[in-house]
């Protein structure tokens, strides 16, 4: 099963060895960029510890224990994640009191199990709050039902506020002997140093581009161009790549091409029409995608000059050529524009008006490709 996780050989070899030699530490911290398989690895690791299979191919994914883990319904698994639920919403066993919340919770789990690449949005702001740590401590104090080791997975541990993190410290330092605590985070630096020092840290890395390409081609049956493009956009984030492959992001791609055509014609009127789409902040994600596409186009322009085979948008080479011909100082403007677009992405994250951003980009592009 571990083979399903791509590009994390280092982490997996450590964990495998720990299982084989039965030297499982009390607390692990899986850290690394988003969407590279930290949670999945944590789950598989928990399965491997408790797998009933006789041979070395642990986890088998077939035995009853593995099945329960895969459904996140194993009685000895405590899964803590950032959620909008507060103190009054749960009882001491960690069950949600109201049916409505229970439904949201089930929906979340369903999404996590069936379509893990999809983002799930709660309606209110999320955090890991103290009651969940209390529940976790309570669970750990009980003896294991059927598992060899009780497993706690805390996803996005950086979402613990200071109170929660502090409440966790004592448990993290000296959990019961038959327990494993796994924290995952993409921002290890925002964790308390006292938390960091109590865990064994396992690094995760961005998935190499060619592995993403391969995965997309094999499991999602994408063609070359698409696989290449999604691999580039996702930037080592497998989750994002799958998301793109699943949802198909052709709309944004056409929008990008439209945008570039408008830039080449310097047609202000058409741009105004184009811009009106991005009037509301709802389209923020779409605009972010558009910008990442633009970055790819830009790098395509410099590839066009030096190394045309590496281009992503092979099917639109005419447009790339046009762009290239309108300004041939590729070495000078491409890095600058990319830096500029990166800055715009950050501003977009900071809730700057999307319309202003797209206008700024348009102006900058018009100046470059006139």
């Amino acid at each position: 099963m571990f083979r399903k996780i791509k590009g994390q050989d280092k982490a997996i070899s450590i964990l495998k060895q720990a299982v084989e030699e039965d030297k499982i530490a009390q607390a692990y911290l899986f850290y690394g960029p988003k969407g590279v398989g930290k949670f999945t690895t944590a789950l598989y690791f928990a399965m491997a510890i408790n797998c009933f299979a006789e041979d070395d191919m642990k986890p088998c994914g077939k035995c009853s224990s593995c099945q329960k883990f895969l459904k996140l319904s194993h009685p000895d698994l405590t899964y803590v994640f950032p959620s909008p639920f507060r103190k009054d919403d749960i009882d001491t066993n960690g069950n949600l009191k109201s049916d409505k919340n229970d439904e949201i919770y089930k929906e979340f789990l369903k999404n996590k199990i069936e379509t893990p690449w999809k983002n799930f949005y709660f309606s209110s702001n999320i955090e890991i709050r103290i009651p969940f740590i209390r529940v976790l401590i309570h669970h750990l104090s009980l003896t294991a039902n059927e598992a060899r080791k009780k497993v706690v997975i805390v996803e996005d541990a950086d979402m613990m506020n200071t109170n929660t993190a502090n409440a966790f410290l004592k448990t993290l330092e000296e959990p019961p002997v038959d327990a494993v605590i796994i924290l995952t985070t993409s921002k290890p630096n925002s964790l308390l140093p006292t938390v960091l020092s109590r865990c064994q840290k396992i690094p995760f890395y961005s998935v190499p581009r060619h592995l993403i390409e391969q995965e997309l081609k094999e499991s999602r049956f994408l063609d070359d161009v698409q696989a290449k493009m999604y691999a580039r956009i996702s930037n080592g984030n497998m989750e994002k790549a799958l998301q793109l492959a699943e949802e198909g992001n052709l709309e944004t791609r056409t929008a990008t091409i439209d945008f570039l055509k408008i830039v080449l014609q310097q047609n202000d009127y058409e741009f105004l029409q184009f811009m009106s789409k991005y009037r509301t902040s709802k389209n923020q994600a779409e605009l972010a995608n558009l910008i990442s596409y633009l970055i790819i186009w830009l790098s395509d322009i410099s590839y066009f000059k030096y190394n045309p085979e590496n281009m992503v948008n092979l099917d639109y080479d005419k447009l790339v050529e046009q762009l290239y011909l309108s300004n041939q100082n590729v070495d000078i403007y491409v890095p600058k524009l990319i830096e500029f677009l990166e800055k715009m992405l950050r501003k977009l994250d900071g809730h700057v008006n999307p319309q202003l951003i797209i206008t700024e980009i348009y102006n900058r592009f018009c100046r470059t490709f006139q």
Partner: protein
């Protein structure tokens, strides 16, 4: 028994095993020997230096059945083993961070009334005490000031500033130090011996350095190393596991920088990243390295670099000026913050390294000033040095002259012509502008900026620079015509042509334009990446 991490397995169990906190252990030992134990202690200090461990040892020493209170707890009697396991009835270890409310304190106070079972003291260890709520702290105050006899409180925290001053004043406070590197190495050595692990001296040094004064961190790092399945701890292993880049690599990068070799720097960067090193860690390391170079340059002693490296560093140092090194560090700092927020950190790193490679092309401001002054025949540097009053005087003189020029335009002989041609127009343009200026300043300006398109018969057609210019000139057409007619003694008509599409080359000068006019400034702009807005 199931596997225990090193940090727990080798938790100190006697006073002697607590490393490099002698200033505290001595005092505690003395209080036991002299029988002067206080009723409340506050242990503060960074993570992993032995606060909780020492609290437990102290509890054991006081309650040991073999002659307690004693400075050498036996660790075998019932009380000692119970305390180690955390199940003693008389030594309560409370998690201050999950029992934060007043109710928790009230429960504690109720328990205080009962006497001890079979030990000398009833000891409450409250860990992470800084997380108690304000109310909880206040509820504790009275008890803390005058607890029942034979009750001892030990508070441990990493953040003493969050503890109320009224609490602190009721406790004996002990500040734990960060553990120095040699002491950590000592401890690691002894553990390696007990575990039967071979370890290189330099490897242990690197671990100790990375642990940053915390023993627990050092042991966690050891654990991590052993988890990779290496039976021997070598420097190479340590570097590869923790993604620390070897000093030689930094040396090569700096060398490449000195040679302005951007491509080899990028190659190095990629090979580092391919090995799975963290980019942040790498930049931190490089910054450290440059810092060492800078310190060497200032003739300070740097203890952190091995002597083998010293010589090559000194050699390298000659190729850089202090300013360049400072610039490199500040650029790296900026890169670091950028990387944190960027979705494409590698790209940002690449860009900055290319920029760094341009370091050598950069000219210092002094040189630039010189260049500018040579081009313009104005000695900027001297101008800057002159006292301000002189400058003002000079300026005053100049303005006077200019004023004079404006006030008394050289009388221009009226050309006696029958037909206006382009040449004549251009020749007389300054005089025309001057005349217009007296009439209407704004119009004159737009007029002087406007280009002559052509002159057909008696129609002069102008192309203004901007839309605004078009409007202005059109508005005061009659005025301009009057001036023209008076000057040339002809009856001329003015035609203002629509503005051409704004030439952005002028509105937004490109690098090439500047290059043509001011090569020095263009170079400066390229090197610093500045934009004209």
């Amino acid at each position: 028994m199931s596997y225990l991490v090193l940090a727990r397995k080798y938790r100190p169990q006697t006073f002697d095993e607590v490393y490099s906190q002698d200033h505290i252990t001595e005092v505690l030992k003395n209080t036991i020997e002299l029988d002067r134990t206080a009723h409340a202690y506050l242990f503060t200090g960074p993570r992993g230096v032995g606060k909780t461990s020492l609290a437990r040892i102290f509890a054991k020493s006081l309650n040991c059945l073999n002659g307690g209170p004693t400075v050498t707890p036996c660790n075998t009697c019932q009380n000692c083993t119970e305390i180690t396991q955390g199940i003693s009835a008389d030594v309560m270890e409370i998690d201050g961070a999950s029992n934060t409310s007043v109710d928790d304190i009230r429960n504690l106070q109720k328990e205080l009334l009962y006497s001890t079972t079979n030990s000398n003291f009833k000891i409450y260890i409250i860990d992470e005490v800084h997380m108690l709520s304000k109310n909880a702290f206040n509820a504790l105050l009275k008890t803390l000031e005058e607890p029942p006899e034979s009750v001892i409180f030990i508070f441990a925290t990493t953040e003493p500033h969050k503890v109320l001053p009224t609490i602190v004043s009721r406790c004996q406070r002990f500040d734990f130090k960060r553990i120095p590197i040699p002491d950590i190495i000592d401890r690691l050595h002894s553990i390696c011996q007990q575990e039967g692990i071979e370890a290189e001296e330099e490897a242990l040094f690197t671990i100790a350095k990375k642990a940053d004064g915390s023993m627990r961190d050092a042991l966690s790092l050891m654990d991590q190393l052993l988890a990779y399945g290496h039976d021997k701890i070598t420097l190479e292993n340590v570097l590869s596991v923790f993604g620390i880049v070897h000093n030689d690599v930094y040396l090569e990068i700096m060398q490449a920088l000195a040679n302005k070799d951007a491509s080899s720097i990028l190659k190095q960067l990629h090979s580092i990243l391919e090995k799975g090193n963290d980019i942040q860690e790498f930049i931190n390391g490089l910054m450290d390295f440059i810092r060492n170079m800078l310190l060497l340059k200032m003739n300070l002693e740097v203890h952190e670099i091995p002597s083998s490296l010293l010589e090559s560093l000194q050699k390298l140092n000659k190729k850089f000026s202090e300013n360049e090194l400072l610039y490199a560090i500040s650029l790296l700092i900026k890169t670091k913050t950028d990387i944190k927020t960027s979705s494409n950190p590698i790209l940002i790193a690449e860009m900055s390294f290319v920029k760094l490679a341009k370091l050598a092309q950069m000219t210092s401001i002094d040189k630039l000033l010189q260049q500018v002054s040579q081009n313009k025949n104005v000695d900027v540097s001297r101008l800057a040095q002159q006292p301000a009053s002189q400058n003002v005087k000079k300026l005053h003189k100049q303005t006077q002259q200019i004023k004079k020029q404006i006030q008394e335009p050289e009388p221009v002989a009226k050309p006696n012509i029958s037909k206006l041609t382009k040449e004549i127009y251009l020749e007389n343009k300054p005089a025309l502008v001057n005349k217009l200026r007296k009439e209407k300043m704004v119009v004159a300006n737009y007029f002087s900026q406007a280009k002559l398109a052509n002159i057909r018969r008696n129609t002069v057609s102008l192309i203004p620079q901007s839309r605004l210019g078009y409007d202005m000139l059109n508005e005061s057409k009659q005025l301009i015509e009057a001036v023209l007619n008076q000057h040339f003694n002809l009856s001329l008509r003015l035609e203002v042509q629509k503005v051409e599409k704004a030439k952005s080359a002028i509105a937004n000068p490109k690098l090439e334009d500047i290059k043509k006019e001011e090569p020095g400034i263009a170079e400066f702009m390229e090197a610093t990446d500045s934009i004209i807005t």
